[in-house]
């Protein structure tokens, strides 16, 4: 009954209670004999290959968890150079194969353009404002080239963003005394983010209109997204539609799920990445 090579030449034993002892009852050694006759192997219970394979994989997995971080770092640079020359984009699908990963918490990618996009600045300000895309383009533009670092580990080197400094919009609106923070809302209807007023006034925080010198695409959060260069990329809210000056910081979407509100690259979320700005 065990699955083992049958002893050559020994007739198969049918227990007495076998009700169907016809020629079909069980494949004996006679039919479809291999080219070389099978070796008798009744000694022992065979080799526990399955157990060895499973234990070996568990060991490898544990080693991989131990050294994986360092290995992936090396691989990242190799893969980045390969995928730069890979016209098919297949290498981009490999882990660490470079490029952005698409993360969205909403049902689908929202689309807005010239006619229906509006950016509202309100809250504790003297002049509430509504900007169309053309209005934002007419303001002084700042271009920054920095690495993008995601809190899940991937990093995209030297990515260019350009747009209006957030501080410009805040200045134009006139922040009232008593205000201490800024809250961002998005036209995907779900995502929110926030910064302290000091963080929002930094010279490396943009309301970005272009990414790598092309208009920000819908998948990347276009037509307008936030770009907070010194922080993990979850702070750079996509599909930005509202800037509200508030009295205190209200944690954003991911911050309700354990991410740090002050998302400095390398100094938060238990990570030690190189700073991006």
């Amino acid at each position: 009954m065990d699955d083992r090579t049958p002893p050559v030449g020994t007739p198969e034993q049918h227990p007495a209670h076998d009700p169907d002892p016809g020629p079909d009852a069980g494949p004996g050694p006679e039919p479809a004999e291999p080219a070389q006759p099978a070796q008798p192997s009744d000694q022992g219970r065979g080799t526990p290959v399955g157990r060895r394979l499973v234990l070996g994989m568990l060991g490898l997995g544990a080693v991989g968890v131990g050294v994986g971080g360092a290995v992936q770092d090396r691989l990242d640079s190799v893969l980045a150079s390969v995928s730069a020359k890979d016209p098919t984009g297949v290498t981009g699908l490999l882990p660490g194969g470079g490029g952005f990963r698409f993360y969205s918490v909403s049902d689908s990618i929202p689309h807005r353009g010239e006619t229906d996009y509006r950016l509202t600045v309100d809250g504790l300000v003297d002049h509430r404002a509504d900007y169309r895309l053309a209005d934002l383009r007419a303001l002084p533009q700042t271009r920054l080239v920095r690495d993008v670092q995601c809190v899940t580990g991937w990093r995209v080197p030297k990515t260019a963003f350009s747009g209006v400094l957030l501080s410009t919009l805040l200045e134009t609106a006139g922040v009232r005394s008593g205000a201490a923070a800024v809250r961002f809302s998005c036209f995907d209807g779900v995502y929110t983010e926030s910064l302290t007023l000091d963080q929002a006034r930094r010279a490396d925080v943009l309301v970005a209109l272009t990414m790598n010198d092309k208009p920000v695409t819908a998948a990347h959060g276009g037509p307008v997204r936030l770009y907070v260069a010194p922080m993990y990329f979850y702070k750079s809210a996509k599909w930005l539609s509202g800037i509200t000056v508030t009295k205190d910081v209200r944690p954003g979407y991911w911050e309700h799920y354990g991410y740090d509100v002050d998302g400095w690259v390398g100094k938060s979320n238990g990570r030690h990445d190189d700073p991006t700005s």
């Binding site: 090579t5 049958p6 069980g26 080799t47 399955g50 394979l53 499973v54 991989g64």
Partner: protein, 224 residues
């Protein structure tokens, strides 16, 4: 007078019990959900179509962690344990099966017992992969469990093994797609007798009736 046809002959040979087909079906569904949600988290084009990241993450985590459950429940069944034992052990003909497969790129059916060596290796690989994926998955699921280096390492192992596992599952599905009788075996529990003779000639099937109480199954046909 013609005797009425034996219904067992019409159904063929019993290859799997109801428990075993149930375990396989449950694992297949859970794995399917887990693989699809994993792809939706990982492949940018799919992620753009699916969105809903938090929901997808939750479904992925739970479907993944539940995959071993039907297998563990299955261990209560004697037939399941017997087949697990068969899958785990290599006999001389299995080594030769591997040799033929490597040298001549051929799956030699005459060297197959109830399971051929390829099926045995796939089974062991899936168990190992499943455990590693579950372990690294849990480390990422609960970030407080382990220091950051371990989490990065887990991501590394989880991502690369996922690609390997996906390739193996593709092979598994490909071979199944080519063999309707093997699929019937897992769907109904029965396979045609000619199929068993052709594909698994070294398989000595169990008797259709339970052995008398007290007599351990799988032992009485062993000759010293």
């Amino acid at each position: 007078m013609t005797p009425p046809p034996d219904p067992r002959a019409a159904r063929g040979l019993r290859r799997f019990t109801r428990t075993e087909t149930w375990v396989h079906r449950s694992v297949a569904w859970l794995m399917g959900v887990c693989v699809f949600t994993g792809a939706a988290l990982y492949v940018p084009q799919l992620a753009e179509i699916v969105g809903r990241r938090r929901l997808v993450v939750t479904v992925h985590e739970w479907s993944g962690i539940l995959v071993p459950v039907p297998v563990l429940l299955g261990l209560a069944s004697r037939a399941f344990r017997a087949d697990a034992g068969r899958l785990g052990r290599f006999f001389p003909h299995d080594w030769r099966w591997v040799g033929v497969a490597l040298r001549r790129r051929r799956r030699e059916p005459s060297l197959a017992g109830k399971f051929n060596a390829g099926q045995k290796l796939y089974a062991a690989f899936s168990v190992g992969a499943l455990l590693v994926m579950a372990g690294t998955g849990v480390l990422m699921w609960f970030p407080r469990l382990a220091p950051l280096v371990w989490r990065t390492g887990s991501t590394f192992v989880h991502d690369w093994l996922a690609l390997l596992f996906a390739a193996a599952i593709t092979g598994h599905v490909y071979f199944a797609a080519q063999d309707p009788d093997a699929r019937r075996g897992l769907r109904t529990g029965y396979v045609p007798r000619w199929w068993a003779r052709a594909e698994h000639p070294l398989w000595q099937p169990e008797e259709p009736h339970d052995p008398p109480a007290g007599q351990p199954t799988g032992r009485h046909s062993r000759t010293p």
